[in-house]
């Protein structure tokens, strides 16, 4: 059935070409037998002149027909015939992308050779980084990088997995997967409430003292393994600092309790397959610089 439509197009195009040429040539001779340069008929007393068309105009028509035939031989147009040049719009797109990559790779490779700390403040890097950020990161982390519910703020000093260039790059390349377990079954409702109060206490907020004391004990049993002895966090594991008032999933009592009950498995996608090495390097420098501002 596919070839039917191909033939449909070919035949109609061919017939049109032949018709056009015939119309052109058939009108060469004036057989109206009039001698006064009119077409011989009148409408409402208005006559129509029948002056010759200039020869150069006729030759231009002929040229366009020749051009049309030539065009359809080298470019696709006659049904499924791909044309002698093998041109496709996808091919043109791919060539344009490759040309752009060539042009910009030199720029990015220059920066790839330099360490992140050195280029983080470079205005060109910040501009390129901002555009890459808008395209790849802003959807989750916000256009200004200050994050939101479940998406870390990249402009502050608080880093879950580390704020060194190496750590940031590792986050970008491999992604991250949070592993906060759900404590509902182990602690039960009372235990969750007690740990919540302890956390509020740790942050200098109003807390129920009895519950907080019990919570501290639970904390030593279950939480310090990941979050560290003082709850200051462990960047090797991506365990947040629980004492600095920065809550990725909200700092209200109910939200903290929810985190404890249900756990958290936040995902940062890996960009190794999406972005080339030089782009990741620029992004690393940009994000590193965001934290510094």
């Amino acid at each position: 059935m596919a070839s039917f439509w191909s033939y449909w197009v070919i035949i109609i195009t061919a017939i049109t070409f032949v018709t056009v040429v015939w119309v052109l040539l058939a009108n060469r001779k004036d057989l109206s037998q009039t001698t006064d340069e009119t077409t011989g008929h009148a409408h409402d007393g208005i006559e129509e002149l029948d002056n010759p068309l200039p020869a150069w105009w006729f030759y231009m028509f002929v040229l366009t027909v020749i051009w049309g035939v030539g065009y359809l031989i080298i470019y696709p147009g006659m049904g499924n015939f791909p044309g002698l040049l093998g041109w496709t719009s996808t091919g043109q797109y791919e060539r344009e992308v490759a040309a752009a990559e060539e042009r910009y790779r030199d720029i990015r490779d220059r920066y790839l050779a330099m360490p992140v700390e050195e280029i983080a403040a470079d205005p060109a890097v910040r501009k390129m980084g901002m555009r890459l950020f808008s395209n790849n990161c802003a959807q989750c982390h916000g256009a200004d990088g200050k994050g939101g519910y479940g998406f870390p703020n990249l402009t502050d000093d608080d880093w879950l997995y580390g704020g060194t260039p190496e750590a940031i790059k590792a986050t970008l390349v491999n992604g991250r997967k949070a592993a906060m377990p759900a404590w509902r079954d182990i602690l039960g409702d009372t235990g969750i409430a007690e740990v919540t109060q302890h956390l509020l206490d740790l942050n200098g907020r109003d807390a129920n003292e009895t519950q907080a004391a019990a919570g501290a004990t639970h904390f030593k049993t279950y939480c310090v393994a990941c979050h560290g002895p003082d709850g200051k966090g462990n960047q090797a594991l991506g365990a947040p600092n629980l004492t600095n008032g920065i809550w990725l999933y909200g700092g209200s009592e109910e939200q903290i309790a929810h985190t404890l009950r249900a756990g958290r498995n936040g995902v940062m996608p890996a960009f190794a397959g999406t972005l080339s090495e030089d782009k990741i390097h620029i992004l690393t420098a940009y994000v590193y610089g965001l934290g510094k501002q």
Partner: protein
């Protein structure tokens, strides 16, 4: 019926039907040179335009070319003003004004645009002048074309075409010079180090000028220009046209100068056909108004020179109106003209006002849509916005951003930015509002950007602030 009354049958061959080729080779027009008032007038209309065209790209302003249409950078400089693509509606308006003034002038005085200022006419006149000075007068040129090839003919033809190509090249280079700095273009062309686009367009406009003014000439006016065809819509009985006065001239015929032609029953036209010989479009104006007539008044000057020699009054062919030819007087001030002038004055006024009061600043606001809102720990609501600021002025300004529409709203991020002339900057801002201050889930708010110290440079853009339902 007897046999003598019958008419003999005769074989009659059917009349020969003349076959006319409808694609006709044009006949070359050899115009005769004539001096006269209107030809001198054309010098005053043509030369200022030519000088302006060739000189403008060479003027400088603030270290760059004063008039430069920088297509790759999409900035169009005209002296102290730089227009961006956002200003295109102004260009459209300007073109509308230009077209409208053309119609107004046509209703008033016919095709004087064609005869006195159209580039096709101006350049054809230059080429005709060069032709006259290399190949000779009309009769000499006709003879030369008929003569067999000789050294003299070759030399003359080469000189003519070289001079044509030289003028065409100057024209082409100047045209490209409006789009690419001409002071760079010329040396680059001559050292063959120009980019291929520059070379391509210079060659194109050189060839186009050469073909149009050297070969095509009246073919452009007769077949390609739409103005020739719709002029009759704009003419009325009081429009000034070049016309032969048949009341004075007919019946035409040759006569001795000493004789009083009226006693012979002859009109003023001596049928010298000078008016036909000088016509660049190859018509006989005595046949009446024709679409080919470009109103150049060569026939007027030609006939006047003959009238002078015959000691008849001038004006057998003159600028006149249908009304006047019929015996009335031309109504100069009529409703149509007044209407055109009033509308034109209004449009020019509005356009000038817009140019003078143009605000060279543009603001676009895009709200983050992936996170409609962010709830902070303290219960405040944040919305994140990306702002695009374009400083369309030629010098730097410091801009301050403010937001209105939500009581107590604050902005987190840098709200003061210095932009260079022509700089476009993308920046992000977070607007924070308390939940109590927002009564609707979707509240309109307005961003205002003002240039510090210049309150007239101020733009606003509306956006929305979202909060949880």
């Amino acid at each position: 019926m007897s046999d003598e009354d019958l008419i003999d049958l005769q074989e009659v061959a059917p009349a020969e039907v003349a076959e006319v080729d409808l694609y006709q080779r044009r006949e070359k027009i050899y115009t005769r040179k004539i001096e006269g008032f209107y030809q001198r007038l054309r010098l005053f209309t043509g030369w200022p335009l030519l000088v302006g065209y060739f000189l403008l790209p060479w003027l400088t302003w603030d270290g760059r070319q004063a008039v430069l249409f920088d297509l790759p950078a999409r900035k169009f400089h005209i002296f102290g003003l730089t227009f961006w693509p956002q200003d295109f509606p102004m260009l459209a308006f300007l073109l509308i004004i230009a077209a409208y003034s053309l119609f107004a002038v046509t209703t008033f005085a016919g095709r004087i645009w064609c005869g006195y200022t159209c580039p096709q006419t101006v350049w054809t006149s230059i080429f005709m002048w060069l032709e006259q000075h290399t190949e000779g007068s009309r009769n000499q040129r006709i003879k030369l074309d008929k003569a067999p090839w000789s050294t003299e003919k070759i030399v003359k033809k080469i000189t003519k075409h070289s001079s044509w190509l030289f003028v065409a090249f100057a024209t082409g280079v100047t045209f490209v010079g409006y789009f690419y700095p001409i002071r760079q273009l010329l040396p680059e062309l001559f050292t063959l180090s120009a980019g291929h686009w520059q070379i391509l367009w210079t060659v194109f406009f050189t060839l186009a000028t050469y073909v149009n003014a050297g070969w095509m000439r009246e073919q452009v006016c007769k077949y390609m220009c739409p103005y020739a065809r719709f002029q009759s819509v704009m003419f009325d009985r009081d429009t000034l046209i070049v016309s032969y006065d048949p009341n004075r001239g007919e019946p035409r015929g040759s006569r001795k100068r000493s004789v009083d032609h009226r006693t012979l029953g002859l009109g003023d036209c001596i049928d010298c056909e000078l008016c036909v010989q000088v016509c660049p479009t190859g018509i006989d104006i005595r046949n009446g108004l024709q679409y080919e007539c470009i109103g150049c008044a060569l026939c007027v000057d030609a006939c006047n020179s003959v009238m002078d020699k015959m000691e008849y009054p001038r004006g057998l062919i003159r600028y006149t109106s249908e009304h006047e030819l019929e015996g009335g007087t031309t109504h100069w001030l009529r409703p149509r003209i007044i209407g055109y002038v009033v509308v034109l004055a209004l449009m020019v006024g509005v356009f000038s006002y817009n140019i003078v009061n143009r605000i060279p600043l543009e603001l676009t606001v895009i709200r983050d849509r992936n996170q409609l809102y962010v709830t902070t720990d303290t219960g405040a609501i944040d919305n994140i916005y990306t702002l695009r600021l374009a400083n369309m002025d030629q010098k730097a300004h410091e801009f301050d951003i403010t937001v209105t529409g939500i009581p107590g709203a604050t902005m987190i991020g840098e709200t003061s930015h210095t932009l260079d002339g022509g700089e476009v900057r993308t920046l992000t801002l977070r607007v924070r509002a308390e939940a109590e201050d927002l009564d609707k889930p979707n509240t309109p708010l307005e961003f205002t950007v003002t240039a510090r110290g210049m309150p007239s440079i101020r733009v606003t853009s509306e956006s929305r602030f979202m909060k949880p339902l």
